[in-house]
Structure formats: C-alpha cells, structure tokens
C-alpha cells in the first residue's frame, strides 16, 4: 500500500491566527453564516473568547474541537438560543440578536441531546413541529409521513419515541429539524454516541441535504467526520479559532506528509526507527508497531527503502500519506483533539 502526495506541498506551514477567513466570500455570494469576535462568558468561565467563522451557502462548515472548546456555545449563539456578550453574528443575512425571529425561520437545529419528546410518537413529534410552524393538519401529517419515510422510520411512526434506539432517536431529531425545510442547519455533534453504521447513515443524509442546497454547520470532535463532510473547517480551541481552511489546506499547513513504516518482524522496529530518524532528520513516533516520521520531500521514501533493504529489514507496510487531522490538531494546538480511547480507535478504523 504505497500512496504519494500529489499537491498542497510547499506552502507556508506556519499557522496564522485567523479572523474571518477568506474562504467566505466565494463568488461574491454573502455567507450563509458569518460570526465575528463572539465572546460568551458563564461566570468565571469564558466559553467563547472572540471566535469568528463563516460558512458559504450550500456547503458544510465543520467546527472542530475537543470537549469544552466552545463548539456548543457557538452553535447556541448562532441558533439564537444564547445572546453573545460581545461580537456579532449574521445567519442568512439576519443579525441573531436584533432579528432572532427571522433567523429562526431559516434554521434547523439538532442538538447533542436529541430534542424529541419521548412521550410522543414519531409522527406526533413531527406533526407538532409542522403545526407550530403554521401548517394545516393535513399538510402536517403529509410532511411527517414524508420525513419518516426518508429517515426509515415509517414502521416506528406510531410508537412512542422513548421506545426508539439511540440511532432512531437521532434520526427523528434530525427529521424534526427539517420539518420547516430550513436553508441553514446546525448539527451539534450529531454522531456522538452513535454506532458506526448509524453514523454513516447520518453522514449520507448530511451529504444529501447539502446536495439540495442546504448550508450545514456541523460541530464535531471527530477529525474523520470533519474530513469526510466539511468543505471548510474551523478548528476551535478554548473559545478561539486557531485555524480555518479546507481539510486539505489544514493538512498541508500543519506540515505536509508523513512516512509510515511497519516492519514485517516487530523486533526490527528499533532499526526502522533509527534509520527513519537518521534520514529524515526528525524524531519519529512509534505507535502500534509502526514508525511514522515527517517527510519533508519525496526523496525520503526511496532513500529509506534502499537503506532498510541494505540492512536486511523487510517492510510489511509502507505509506507516504498526508498528515491526519489529528496530527494537524496536535500541530495547531499543542495537544491532541481527543486523547485516544478504544472508542476513538474504533471510529477511525471503520471510517
């Protein structure tokens, strides 16, 4: 399995602290979501310390950060649930503080905790929202049936939501946020706690919505999720935006490529580590029986292969790959996005 880098190399790898980034004004269309200098304090805690972000109409903006970075606070400010202490945010062109009602008529929100009424059936949950939005009884029932069908919940339509599985509940919650056909959708950690199959289903739904022209702001602490779905990513840490860009941009900016090698015989790991260190002039990391080292240019891989061949080491795996978002996050913030746990490893393997 050998892959090579094709582009994005040679850029300035220094990460600048960004304000509202340039990707927002593509094609002269005003951004669907634009926030500048958002500050929100809760007592002594500063949840947002001047965060700025911007989402292009019809794209997915991934807001990536660890627990407690301020992702949920930012979402709640943008969805008009919280007033910021400082800063300004426009959603669909409307100020979230001055014209919250207009913002609400454009948005859908799916929170980290599914906001469905567990005492109601799937149908009733959706009819409730449709009726609140002013649709007639018949239109509400039609819309509910349509959404239940799209989300594979028709069979469970008449059952109380409390009997639903976690994945079904999350689907119903997403369906509820779509009743009013929102143009802008906020998904706050939509896949946290979902099994890989449900998560992949949800990803497909998000892609499909974006295909229909919906703008999605998605917060996540899963790097692969942002990589999979987002057109642009803002990396947020301790209430501030530490980087913005496309997934590729961020990977390129955080230090290009990584050469990864796994010896066929595990006891030769130390030899591989020494050779890699010598030729790359950098300290390799050793994890799970394989050695990874930053590869400043394309000549490293053939050099390593030759040298290892000379000293009689056979490689089971050799990959020249772009840095993962996890490595990017480490480079940008000085700490890992999520301390690796079994759960996290599973997710990455199935991605």
């Amino acid at each position: 399995m050998v892959s090579t880098r094709t582009d994005g190399h040679g850029r300035d790898s220094e990460i600048s602290m960004t304000t509202v980034g340039p990707p927002c004004h593509r094609g002269g269309v005003p951004p669907a979501i634009e926030a500048e200098g958002l500050v929100k304090r809760f007592g002594a805690t500063t949840a947002l310390a001047g965060a700025s972000l911007s989402a292009v109409e019809g794209t997915v903006l991934g807001v990536l950060g660890p627990n407690g970075a301020g992702k949920t606070t930012a979402t709640r400010v943008l969805a008009t649930l919280l007033a910021p202490d400082e800063g300004r945010a426009l959603v669909g062109g409307y100020d979230v503080v001055a014209e919250p009602h207009r913002v609400r008529s454009l948005i859908g929100l799916t929170g980290q905790y599914a906001g469905v009424d567990e005492a109601l059936t799937g149908t009733e949950n959706l009819v409730l929202i449709a009726r609140l939005l002013g649709q007639s009884r018949a239109a509400s029932r039609r819309r509910a049936a349509e959404l239940l069908d799209q989300f594979g919940l028709t069979e469970a339509a008449g059952r109380a939501a409390r009997t639903y599985s976690g994945g079904m509940r999350r689907r119903l919650d997403l369906a509820a946020s779509l009743v009013g056909r929102p143009r802008i959708l906020f998904l706050d950690e939509p896949t946290t706690g979902l099994d890989p199959a449900s998560r992949n289903e949800l990803w497909d739904m998000v892609r499909s919505l974006v295909g229909d022209g919906v703008t999605v702001l998605l917060t996540t602490q899963y790097l692969d999720e942002a990589d999979q779905l987002a057109d642009d990513i803002v990396v947020i840490d301790r209430g501030t935006v530490v980087a913005t860009g496309t997934p590729d941009d961020l990977k390129a900016r955080a230090g290009a490529a990584v050469l990864q090698m796994r010896p066929a015989q595990p006891e030769q790991l130390a030899v591989v580590e020494r050779v890699a260190s010598e030729l790359a002039g950098a300290t390799p990391t050793v994890e799970n029986g394989s050695v990874a080292v930053p590869a400043p240019d394309e000549s490293l891989m053939p050099a390593v292969v030759r040298r290892l061949d000379d000293v009689g080491v056979r490689l089971a795996e050799l990959t020249l790959r772009r840095a993962t978002l996890d490595e990017v996050f480490l480079a940008l913030t000085g700490h890992r996005a999520v301390e690796p746990t079994d759960d996290q490893t599973d997710l990455r393997e199935t991605a």
């Binding site: 269309v29 005003p30 669907a32 109409e57 019809g58 709640r76 008009t80 649930l81 669909g92 062109g93 409307y94 014209e99 009602h101 207009r102 609400r104 008529s105 454009l106 948005i107 859908g108 929100l109 929170g111 980290q112 905790y113 599914a114 906001g115 469905v116 009424d117 567990e118 005492a119 109601l120 059936t121 009733e124 409730l128 929202i129 009726r131 609140l132 939005l133 002013g134 349509e146 799209q150 989300f151 594979g152 109380a160 919650d173 509820a176 946020s177 779509l178 009013g180 056909r181 929102p182 143009r183 906020f186 289903e201 497909d204 499909s208 919505l209 295909g211 229909d212 022209g213 919906v214």
Partner: protein
Amino acid sequence: MTLDRTAPARPAGPALDAPAAPRRVTPAQWASQSLTMAWRSLVQIKHNPSELLDLSIQPIMFVLLFTFVFGGAIYGSADAYLQFALGGLIAQNALFLTIYTATGLATDLQKGTFDRFRSLPIARSAPLSGRIMGDVVRQLWSLVVLLVVGVVLGFRITTSPVAVLAAFGLLVAFTLAFSWTSVLLGVLARDPEKVQIYGFTVLFPLTFASNAFAPTETMPGWLQAWVAINPVTRMADALRGLLVGGPVAANAVATLLWGVAFAAVFGPLAVWALRTRV
C-alpha cells in the same frame, strides 16, 4: 435510506432574495401555537394512560382516607366531615397538580426539547402557555373526579350550578397564578425527580397547615395565626362557600389576592430564571 432529492429544500441563493420573514408572531399565531403545545401536553396521556390514573386515583384515595379514617375523629361522623373536607381536598389537590407544570418543564429542559422549541420561529411564551393550558385541563379533570366521588359518597352540593362554575373559575384562576412558582421550580431544579422532592417539601406543609382537613380552632395559637392567612385556607373556605354555602366574597378576594401576589413575585423570577439559565 436516502433523502429524496427530487423535493429540494428551499432553493439555494442569498437569503435576501426571499421575502423577508416576519419579525415576530401575531396574537392569532400565539394562540394557535399555544393550543398546539397544549395538544402536545395532553396527547401523551394517550400513550401513557397511567397518567390519567394518577390524576384520578390519588384524589380518590385522599377522599376515601380522610373521610373514613379521620372523618369520625375530627367531625363526629364521616358524612358531616365530607361536607367540610371536600372543599379542602379540592384546594389541596389543585396545588399538588401544579407540580405537573414543573416536572414537564424540567423534562423539556433536560431532554433538549425546550431548545428545539426555542430554535423555532414561534412565540417565546408558547411552550410555557401551552403547557399550562394542558395542565388546566388536568385540573378540571381532577376536579370533576373529586366532585363525582364526593357526591357518590354522600357530598351534597347545596348551592346553584352558577356557584359551582364559579368554584371552577376560582380554582383555575388561582392555580394559573400559582403555576409561576411551579415554572420557577421546574427551571431551577432541571430534573423531574428533584422537582418532585422540592415541590412536595413545600406543598405538604402549605396544604396541611391550613383548615383544609381540620377546623382552625383545634390547632395551637401560633399555628392558627398562619392557618388563618394561608391561601389554601382561604381557597378551601371560598370553595366551601360556593359548594355548600357560607361566606364567599372575602375568601374569594383573599384567594385571588394571594394569586396576584404569587404571580407578581414568582412570575418575574421565573421569566428571569428561564432567560438566564436556559
């Protein structure tokens, strides 16, 4: 399971192309949204019929227990006691039922349902007003159950149908005002189980330290002072007057003034708590 691409969401394009959405809801929309919320609060009884039993069995049990266990001791006979106590039982039950408002609200806050509602272009107050409307229906159901059980056991309404309706009206007016305490409790507790604990910690002394179940004269002096002004006493007396005769006006006015006081103190506190804690 994929989304239907043939039915696009709103067409893509700058928001400003679309006709501007209204800035706020009209009173008619408020009413319709509140009624929808009330429907939501009541339709769940369909899936959880045991709630209806809760609303019926507890009041019935109180009537039976008080009438047959304590009635003879307090009033000489169960029959005479029922004429005295039913007004008190109705008042107590009404206050107990306001806990529903708090548990419902706490559940919505805890489960994120409240956030969903707040992200919709609907009146800010609709989730609250709808819930309270639903709880008024619960109040009326419970009141009817109490009256029917009372009459079956021998309670005699000696006034007019108009007076009975006035009793309904007074009860609803007071509990609506008193519900603000429940709203505050629901927001502060944030957990339906805590609501039950805190709620009954307040409601038990409030309802029992009244003349709902025993005549004031039989109590020690220090307690009589409180019992005389306790809103439960005043409402129980007003209900007695409206159902079996006796002075009404002063007690009804006192009850309503208490209601105004509760709303004036706890209304702003509840709204403040909702604004800051949500």
